[in-house]
């Protein structure tokens, strides 16, 4: 995978891309872009992959300009149109799942198949999801991982050693996430799920303590014909904790 920086509209967007095959857009989760992650490299062995960084994350700009969730959906529409590959497969993880679903709802002609992994975007009064912005480190670790020691395998777009700059990186990322996830990660997606026309797979790690099972069930119920897969021994990042099982359910679905 190669890292490059280029314009999407007026924004400077960093992206990792590579591989060949059917075009695949990967949208990362709320904490950070995973950089040149092993699972992205493996996806690139079968697909032509593009994994852009969200506006306001890391080195990418544009968050000040975004007002509504529609602006994000149109941002990704423009990115896919500029890519010029026609309809693409889309994998969206966590906050990226919320963005992917919004994009698929407003641009059905551009999405061939949709995979939502532990997606944010809904709210259920019957089971309030934890607030990911205030969990103490240990509670965050046990909510995020099946096995908290998996944290060592998580990759990041930030590779410097500077502690202050790492703190700035995290605050920029999570600050940008607050635009769409604060105080409640619901920007009306439940009303738009029915506009998603692409065949959809909703994936979750069985031990995900951030997005409860009732949420992925609600996604599947809201999107016509959606399938669900649950991955054992994985939390909010099944692609990290159970890479092989994750890739299998995704590749089987996209095939």
């Amino acid at each position: 995978m190669t890292m490059t920086m280029s314009k999407v509209g007026a924004y400077d967007i960093r992206r990792w891309s590579g591989g060949s095959g059917a075009p695949l857009l990967y949208l990362h989760g709320f904490e950070q872009h995973p950089g040149n992650a092993p699972y992205l490299q493996k996806l690139a062995s079968k697909h032509k992959v593009i994994a852009p960084e969200h506006p306001g994350y890391g080195e990418s700009t544009g968050i000040e300009d975004l007002e509504h969730i529609l602006d994000i959906a149109l941002h990704y529409r423009q990115l896919v149109e500029d890519w010029g590959q026609g309809p693409v497969d889309v994998i969206g993880h966590s906050l990226g799942g919320m963005f992917a679903a919004e994009f698929a709802a407003v641009s059905p002609h551009l999405v061939r198949k949709l995979v939502l992994v532990s997606p944010y975007g809904l709210w259920l009064d019957t089971e309030p999801a934890p607030d990911p912005f205030v969990l103490p480190a240990d509670a965050m670790a046990s909510a995020k991982w099946h096995d908290p020691s998996s944290a060592g395998s998580e990759t990041s777009a930030f590779t410097d050693n500077d502690k202050l700059e790492l703190a700035v990186f995290r605050v920029k990322n999570l600050g940008s996430a607050t635009k769409f996830m604060w105080p409640i990660p619901d920007r009306g997606l439940d009303r738009r799920l029915r506009h998603i026309k692409a065949p959809t797979l909703v994936v979750r790690g069985e031990a995900d303590g951030l997005v409860p099972a009732s949420y992925t069930d609600a996604f599947a119920a809201g999107i016509g014909g959606a399938k669900t897969e649950s991955i054992a021994a994985a939390g909010h990042l099944p692609m990290v904790e159970q890479e092989a099982a994750f890739l299998k359910v995704v590749e089987d679905f996209l095939a």
Partner: protein, 422 residues
């Protein structure tokens, strides 16, 4: 030099084991620990104390805004200010301030502040604040990344609403109003504006560009504030801003008694109560996006400078009530003792930080009313008059003309140099 009477309005009757039991006092306080009738008595006490401060020569009566906390139980500063505006004669009504990002439409703030200016006959100081993260991001649910933007949009709307002589349309990002034409209008054409900050460069630029009164409002005293306040003045100078000390406010807890020993006996418990009950979950204190990357980098540098005089251990000990009374004083958290000692220490503080507007916290924690009243009287009669010479060569455009005139008429020391000046 000007003096503004202030208290954080801390609920005085939490259980003895409040801190030990792990109770939080912000965002998610336990309502069963806060008795409404006791709260009412507390509010009436603060109104009486501030009415007293108005009579002994204070330049302003300061009220502020916090939410969901027993540490500062003033959800709307305008309510307390309204009680004072109609029952005092002299001092400015210093609303410091309204959290602009929290109101939609923010014309409500323009209206209420104009009302306060009318009732007080032109004595309002309009403080605009971002609010703590606990207030703005948690209790009122604003995405941290939007707070600044919402603040500025509201500020522009409020200032226009006071000044425009024709109805106008306001098409903001967060507020859309086809017709803005508020009543009442303020007595002062434009009330003085104060914007306190916590060291954000963006706020420095704002107060320099608009020539507002800046404020450093913390309860950690001189050493904690000095790196930030020095850096602000240096930045102001470099940018060619107005270096007038009267456009800098600072909060300081003051514990004044006839003698130093008496001060310790009367205030120590209340000081410890104040610091110990300010319990906040650290995860509520700094949500992502509340500070910009630019400010994070500059504040990191300033923090390291500050640690040479006041270590993180000192701050932790102050917060847990483990300091002795005089250590609180020595480290700058409080200024305590006889009127002579307090006067001398305030003079040093004011010169060291270049402060023309001192927001003196004359009540703290669960202090008894009679002690706070004595504190107020000693300040008014024996401390403030000795400090009137400070910065008197500079004009003060940041307190209302009416309050300046009325306070001068009842106060010794104003417009004549005391014998011990300089």
């Amino acid at each position: 030099m000007k003096f503004h009477w202030f208290a954080e309005v801390t609920y005085p009757n939490v259980p003895k084991d409040f801190v030990e039991s792990g109770e939080l006092n912000w965002v998610k306080p336990n309502p069963s620990l806060f008795d409404p009738r006791e709260s009412g008595e507390m509010y009436r006490m603060f109104i009486r104390l501030m009415q007293g401060a108005d009579k002994v020569g204070f330049d302003g009566l300061a009220v502020n805004e916090h939410h969901a906390t027993g540490f500062a139980m003033t959800p709307s500063p305008n309510l307390l200010a309204a009680s004072l505006a109609s029952t005092t004669e002299n001092a400015a009504i210093l609303v410091i301030g309204n959290s602009l990002a929290l109101y939609n439409p923010p014309v409500r703030i323009a209206e209420e502040m104009a009302y306060l200016d009318c009732v007080s006959d032109g004595r309002l100081i309009a403080g605009f604040v971002f609010g703590t993260p606990m207030d703005s991001a948690f209790a009122y649910g604003n995405p941290p990344i939007e707070v600044r933007d919402r603040f500025h949009e509201a500020r522009n709307l409020i200032l226009r609403a006071w000044e425009e002589q024709e109805p106008f349309a306001f098409n903001g990002k967060y507020t859309k109003l086809r017709y803005v034409d508020i009543l009442p209008r303020p007595v002062q054409k434009r009330p003085p504006v104060w914007v306190p900050g916590s060291g954000s460069v963006e706020t420095w630029d704002l107060v320099i560009d608009e020539n507002y009164c800046y404020g450093h409002l913390s309860f950690s005293g001189l050493y904690s504030a000095k790196p930030t306040v020095d850096a602000y003045w240096e930045y102001c100078d470099k940018r060619g801003g107005d270096m007038n000390p009267n456009r800098m406010a600072f909060t300081q807890i003051v514990c004044c008694a006839e003698t130093d020993a008496e001060a310790e006996a009367k205030y120590y418990d209340a000081v410890r109560y104040f610091y110990r009950t300010n319990t906040v979950d650290p995860n509520f204190a700094m949500p992502p996006g509340y500070s910009t990357a630019k400010s994070m980098r500059s504040q990191n540098t300033l923090m390291k400078v500050g640690e040479s005089k006041l270590t993180p251990e000192d701050k932790a000990r102050a917060a847990s009530g483990e300091m002795s009374f005089w250590e609180y004083d020595e480290k700058g958290f409080i200024i305590a003792g006889s009127p002579e000692r307090v006067s001398q220490r305030l003079r040093e503080l004011s010169k060291d930080l270049r402060i023309g507007q001192l927001i003196a916290c004359c009540h703290v924690g669960d202090l008894a009313e009679d002690v706070a009243a004595e504190n107020t009287r000693l300040m008014g009669e024996r401390v403030i008059p000795t400090l009137r010479d400070l910065w008197s060569e500079y004009p003060d455009h940041w307190t209302p003309e009416t309050s300046q005139k009325r306070v001068a008429a009842i106060s010794p020391g104003i417009a004549r140099a005391p014998e011990f000046a300089k």
